[in-house]
Amino acid sequence: MSAFLIKADDIGLQINQRSILEHISLCLEPGKILTLIGPNGSGKTSLVRVLLGLLQPSEGSLQKKPGLVVGYMPQKLHIDGVLPMTVSRFLHMGQKVSEAEVQATATTLGVANLLPQPIQGVSGGEFQRILLSRALLRKPDLLVLDEPAQGVDINGQQQLYQLISSIRDEYGCGVLMVSHDLHLVMEETDDVLCLNTHICCSGHPEAVSKHPEYLKLFGSSLDGMAVYTHHHDHSHDFHGDETDESKPSAEHKHGSCNHG
C-alpha cells in the first residue's frame, strides 16, 4: 500500500495577483482524517479544489497515488428544477452501482425513504447526506468533504461527524474535510490544519486548539467576535462544564508550544 493518497509540496496559488495560498505542504494518508479549519476567505475551499485537480496551483507540486478514487462532497450544489431527477437516479448517475448497494448506503445515511423523491424537494441536511451517499458509492480511497455539516443543526452535526469517523473505520479511506468549528470535529479528527492563506499551525486537534496562532485567528477569549463566542458556548454544552475546560487549557498551552 502506498504511504500517501495525495501529497502536496509547497503549493502556492495566486488569482488576479492576489495570493490565495502560500507554501502549503501536506500529506493525506489512508485511514486518517485531516480537518482544514480557517476563517472565511482563508483559502480552504481553494486548497480543496487544488488537491482535487479542479484548480491549477501557481507553484509547488502535487503527487497522487496512481488510480486514486476520490469521493467529493462539494460545499454547495444546486440542481435546477428544470432537470427531472430522483434521488435514486442521482445516486446511480455515471457510476456502476447495483440497486442493493444504493439501498444499503442510503439506509446507512438515513435517506433510503427519499430515493424515489425528486431531488429538488429534499431539505438541506438531507441533501448533504445524499451527496455523502454518492461520494461513498464510489468506494473512494479518499473522501473530500467541504463543510459537510452545512445546513445541519448542531445535534445533527455531531452525529454527522461521528458518522464520517465510522465510515473511515469501515472503509479505511482517508478523509479530508473542511470545517468551521474545531470543537465540534475535535473528537473525530486525527489531524487539524489551521489555514489562513498559509498554514498557521497543524497537528493534533488538542494541540491546535491551544496554539497561539489558532487562538489569534479564532480567539476563544475574544469577546468581540460574537459569532464564534456563540459557537463555543454551544460546544461547551456538549463537552462538559466550562471550568473543566478552561483550567487545563492554560497549562497545556505551554506544552504544545514547546512541541511545535
Partner: protein, 267 residues
C-alpha cells in the same frame, strides 16, 4: 399518379422531421438543463456563414457549419477568459456578427450571379427533401444519436454539476467539445427543416413541453422527441392545409403544444 407524388413528398418531409427530432429531443433537453439556448442561437446564426463558406469552397454545407461552429466555440472560450463581459453579451456579439457576415457574403455571391435561395436557409425547406437527402440525414442523425447514447451519463453528470463531474474523473472538456460538435451537426441538418432563424425553437420548445410529464432525464428526452414529432406532423400538415411556410408552422405547432402542456398541473 399526381396523388402518389404528393403523398411521397409529405412522407419524405415527415421522415426528415422524425430523424431530426430524434436528435433534437435529447440535445434540446441538455440545452435547457445547461442554459445553453443562447449558444444554440449563436451556432444556428453562424450556420448561415458556414453555409456561405461551404458554397464558396464547393463542399457540403455540413462541413462549413461544423467548421464555423468550432470557430464560434473557440472564440466564445477565448472571450470568456477575461471576465469583463458576460457570456450572453459575448454570444450576442458572435451570433449576430456571424449572421450579418453570412448575409453579406451571400448577397455578394448573389451579386456575382450565383443562385442562392436565401429564404430556404433562413426558414427551412422541408417539403423539398429528396430520398437521397433522407438517406444522408439518416446516417448523420444515427451517428449523432449513437454518440449521445454513449456520452449520456457523462453529459448528465456535467449538467448536474461540472465540478463534481470533473472531480469524479469525467473528461469534462472532451465531452463538452463533442457536445458542441453534435450541436453543430444538428444545426446543419435542422436548417433544412425549420431554417436557421427557428432552430433554437425546435431544440428548446419540445424539451420544455416535456418537462412536466417527466420524472427522469431519460423520460424527458423521450417525451421531447414525442412533442417534436407531433410539432413536425401538425406543422407540415397545417402548412399543406393553409399554404403557410413549413418551418414557421412547425414551430408554431410546437409553441401551441407547449401551452397545452402547461395545462397539466406542476407536481
Amino acid at each position: 399518379m399526381e396523388a402518389v407524388t404528393m403523398d411521397e413528398f409529405i412522407v419524405r418531409a415527415l421522415l426528415a422531421g422524425l430523424l431530426v427530432v430524434l436528435v433534437s429531443g435529447p440535445l434540446g433537453c441538455v440545452v435547457i438543463w445547461r442554459r445553453m439556448a443562447y449558444f444554440g442561437d449563436a451556432l444556428a446564426h453562424a450556420a448561415l456563414l458556414g453555409t456561405a463558406i461551404a458554397l464558396m469552397l464547393e463542399v457540403r454545407p455540413l462541413f462549413g457549419v461544423i467548421g464555423i461552429g468550432v470557430v464560434i466555440s473557440y472564440l466564445l472560450l477565448r472571450l470568456q477568459l477575461n471576465k469583463d463581459l458576460s457570456s450572453d453579451a459575448i454570444l450576442g456579439i458572435l451570433s449576430h456578427g456571424a449572421l450579418a457576415t453570412g448575409l453579406v457574403m451571400m448577397a455578394m455571391m448573389q451579386a456575382q450571379g450565383q443562385r442562392i435561395d436565401l429564404m430556404a436557409y433562413l426558414f427551412g425547406d422541408i417539403l423539398s427533401v429528396s430520398w437521397q437527402y433522407l438517406a444522408w440525414l439518416a446516417a448523420v442523425c444515427g451517428l449523432v444519436l449513437l454518440l449521445v447514447h454513449r456520452l449520456w451519463e457523462s453529459i448528465l453528470a456535467i449538467a448536474v454539476d461540472e465540478e463534481l463531474a470533473r472531480s469524479e474523473g469525467i473528461a469534462v472538456d472532451r465531452v463538452r467539445l463533442l457536445f458542441m460538435l453534435m450541436m453543430a451537426v444538428l444545426v446543419a441538418v435542422a436548417m433544412k427543416i425549420v431554417g436557421i432563424i427557428l432552430i433554437t425553437a425546435l431544440l428548446i420548445v419540445p424539451a420544455a413541453s416535456a418537462r412536466r410529464f417527466a420524472r427522469s432525464p431519460e423520460s424527458m428526452a423521450l417525451l421531447a422527441v414525442v412533442f417534436g414529432l407531433l410539432s413536425v406532423s401538425l406543422g407540415v400538415l397545417g402548412s399543406m392545409q393553409w399554404d403557410t411556410p413549413a418551418g414557421p408552422s412547425i414551430v408554431l405547432a410546437a409553441v401551441l403544444l407547449f401551452f397545452v402542456s402547461r395545462l397539466k398541473r406542476a407536481v
